[in-house]
Amino acid sequence: MSTVVESHDHGHHGPAKGLSRWLFTTNHKDIGTLYLWFSFIMLFIGGAMAMVIRAELFQPGLQIVQPEFFNQMTTNHGLIMVFGVIMPAFVGLANWMLPMQIGAPDMALPRLNNLSFWLLPMAFGILISTLFMPEGGPNFGWTFYAPLSTTYAPSTVNFFIFSVHIMGVSSILGSINIITTIFNMRAPGMTLMKMPLFVWSWLITAYLLIAVMPVLAGVVTMMLMDINFGTSFFNAAGGGDPVLFQHVFWFFGHPEVYIMILPAFGIVSHIIETFSRKPIFGYSSMVYAMASIAILSFVVWAHHMFTVGMPLAGELFFMYSTMLIAIPTGVKVFNWVATMFRGSITFETPMLFSIAFVALFTIGGFSGLMLAIVPADFQYHDTYFVVAHFHYVLVPGALFGIIAAAYYWLPKWTGNMYDETLGKLHFWLTFISVNVTFFPMHFVGLAGMPRRYPDYALQFADFNALISVGAFMFGLTQLLFLFIVIKTIRSGKQAKPEVWEGAGDLGLEWTLSSPPPYHSFTVQPQVK
């Protein structure tokens, strides 16, 4: 009898063999793995583009690439990092962790899950292929302002539009799946206000995605019509309005920047409570803070457009609403610090990345607050000061959150501990190089260097050389990360189910074996 059951188990519940395992998989862990590897590969492609940019900017003058190609590099670097690295990495983490954190066997809609992943390589295949076409790829910045991206764009912009559509479909399908899973598959007893913060952060993020991805699809469709069907949404000569583009884009774009940070808030909260050995401070205010950040993010979009010539009342409204976002953001930072206060703290690699997250993300928040001050923004806008701001929130912010998550959960995923010494080395090299790269950008920006410039005046030369050195160091260091991840997958000390001391009480994922079974919870656990 028991042997029969065993072989039945094997036939249906183990992964398929070979390539078809990955192509046709409907398993949340396999799909999570696919997302994470996709994002990792994209990190190196987008990173290589950043290296081209920094090599050209190492010295004043045009040495390595011409402005035309430089613009393609800045544009594709931005697009790939936003849509190809940060977003897929968070979706990958959601796939792996949500079912395990809420006590479910898998995601609610597994086939849809497969589709939302496999759309992504298509979208980015199309996008990257444009770089090899005679007219070159998109060259109008990741914000693709019309009419530079319509009337004046290379004809490959049509591929770009198609690719953005596919990415949008992928994100929307993924979000539907996540919302459905969270609402329907929680273990008995797990009320909303008992959900782990990572689950909360993704629930809110998924709603943001569903709300704004259609807006992005709308704006690229309007572009498509302007370019190919003679409409004039954004063409002033035909009675259209180029500023309309920016309003629609940023109505998508500002919630988008929170899509890129909210899941990191969730991750960092878990890591800090684990290594402080103390429950997160102010759980419910954490949830309310994320929700209010998400709601406020719909009414601040024009802070990206303070110089387009809005009326005074408009400028003031968007200044005040943007400043308001600093309150819930500040509350989150205070809560993290209060969690560390009177804890019993150890400094494993995920904790180091999370501490750096809190410190450096806060610096990004400060520069955000400065940028919100309209009159001052007249001086900061479109300079390297803005580049510094958003890299502080996105690299030591979002990306550190992702790296911290990888170290935190890798032992759970693979059953092997990573090499702590190498992990710490990776942290310190990354921490130093990230600051050498992005901190001086504040100064060159204040001194007057505009962004998206392939060449610059002589007074900016010293800092630019320093920035480039930092950037190369940062780029190289991430190869070490790749090495550590591969090493952990192949070998390493056997990880216990709870992995981290005392983590067993912190979440359902730590009650499963390491690595966990192929179908996470076949019997739903009871949450008290």
Partner: protein
């Protein structure tokens, strides 16, 4: 190890402070410029106020954080407490954050109102962003000119040493009078550009189909350098802004001279031009206005910028040639040059491109005169 940690923590806490106070001192080259106008000074003050508020908050939060990390480390035997909220503390810091924001918002609003004053200026200047140069027009006197980057391509390519004002110099700066309210009306001709002079704290987008306004009042004579700050295509980094502020008398003389030049230009249109005169004028016009895209050798960068060498239009179709220069090509970077340049310039550059690169020998070699352009304009006006 503990010792190293202590030193390191101290280092992390103190370094940014020392660093930033050095860099953010008023005389630093790496801070926002104070500028020369009342508005730019107010904005600088606001920037420093907000900056220091952030520094103070940062020092408080980070001190507590690093102190906790150090004090409550497990290796020292710290045992975790198990509180996880504190109602009054949470209310307290929310209220405190709100108050600090109000403290920031009040002066910000005041400076904003000051900067946004939209009254007419004594002098009104229409600034038009083109790919990739600025056009300035004095509305009261109906005279205008283009302002092009004057740094040589050899400097950019590193063939000769770079000059002091590398990429921050133009052939003809905008001239404005001191102690006068000058209003800028800013628009774009093709894509969106943005006109920025840090010393005036003026940054306004130049958007096709819109006219934005900004103003300044410069107390002292001087030369002020700025840049285009909205990505506008290949030469975005190569269209600087240079403004020369001069005393009122000098400004009036400058305008008088411009008016006289414009008159002379109108005379030139009626004069009879020889082929050589047109060629000479056309060649230099080509170098400043066309070579950026179509290249000095006329071969362009196909398919984006078509070659002019041996093309059907440059060899055999002078009417189409005139039309393209006058109207531009919709949907491409080719601007309607006829709107911004004189008949003489247009005629001479057409004549030049129809002769150069052996177009003349192989094609019909038609010479286009300023009168032909006038005739074209009259036809269109009908």
């Amino acid at each position: 190890m503990a010792y190293i940690r202590k030193v390191f923590t101290g280092f992390i806490l103190v370094l940014p402070l020392i660093f930033s106070s050095l860099i953010f001192s008023e005389s630093s080259d790496y801070n926002m410029p104070i500028g020369v106008t009342d508005v730019s000074e107010s904005i600088f003050g606001l920037h420093m106020l907000i900056f220091w508020i952030c520094v103070v908050i940062g020092v408080i939060v980070f001190s507590i954080m690093f102190w906790s990390l150090w004090k409550y480390r497990k290796s020292k035997g710290a045992v975790a407490a198990d509180f996880d909220d504190n109602f009054w503390l949470e209310i307290g810091w929310t209220v405190a954050a709100t108050l600090v924001l109000v403290w920031m918002a009040v002066p910000s609003t005041q400076v904003m109102v000051e900067a946004y004053d939209d009254a007419e200026g004594e002098i009104n200047i229409l600034i038009t962003g083109h790919q990739w140069k600025w056009h300035y027009e004095y509305l009261e006197d109906e005279v205008g000119f283009f302002s092009n980057l004057s740094t040589s391509q050899e400097q950019i390519d590193g063939e000769v040493p770079k000059g002091e004002f590398y990429l921050r110099e133009v052939d003809e700066p905008l001239v404005i009078p001191t102690n006068t309210r000058v209003r800028f009306l800013i628009t774009g001709n093709d894509v969106i550009h943005s006109w920025w002079v840090p010393d005036f704290a003026v940054k306004q987008d130049a958007i096709p189909g819109f006219i934005n306004t900004a103003w300044t009042n410069v107390p002292e004579p001087g030369i002020f350098r700025g840049a285009c700050t909205e990505l506008c295509g290949i030469k975005h980094a190569f269209m600087p802004v240079v403004v020369r502020a001069v005393e009122r008398e000098e400004f009036d003389a400058f305008i008088a001279e411009k008016v006289a030049l414009a008159e002379e230009e109108r005379m030139l249109t009626s004069k009879v031009w020889t082929k050589d005169e047109l060629m000479a004028r056309g060649e230099s016009f080509y170098a400043t206005n066309c070579a950026a895209c179509h290249q000095a050798n006329g071969q362009g960068i196909p398919p984006v910028f078509p070659s002019l060498v041996g093309s059907q239009i440059t060899m055999f179709d002078s009417n189409k040639h005139i039309e393209i220069l006058m109207e531009g090509v919709q949907g491409s970077a080719m601007a309607a040059f006829g709107e911004s340049y004189s008949e003489v310039d247009i005629a001479s550059v057409i004549t030049y491109t129809r002769q150069a690169w052996s177009n003349g020998e192989k094609g019909d070699g038609v010479i286009v005169t300023p009168q032909d352009i006038v005739a074209y304009k009259n036809r269109i006006d009908l």
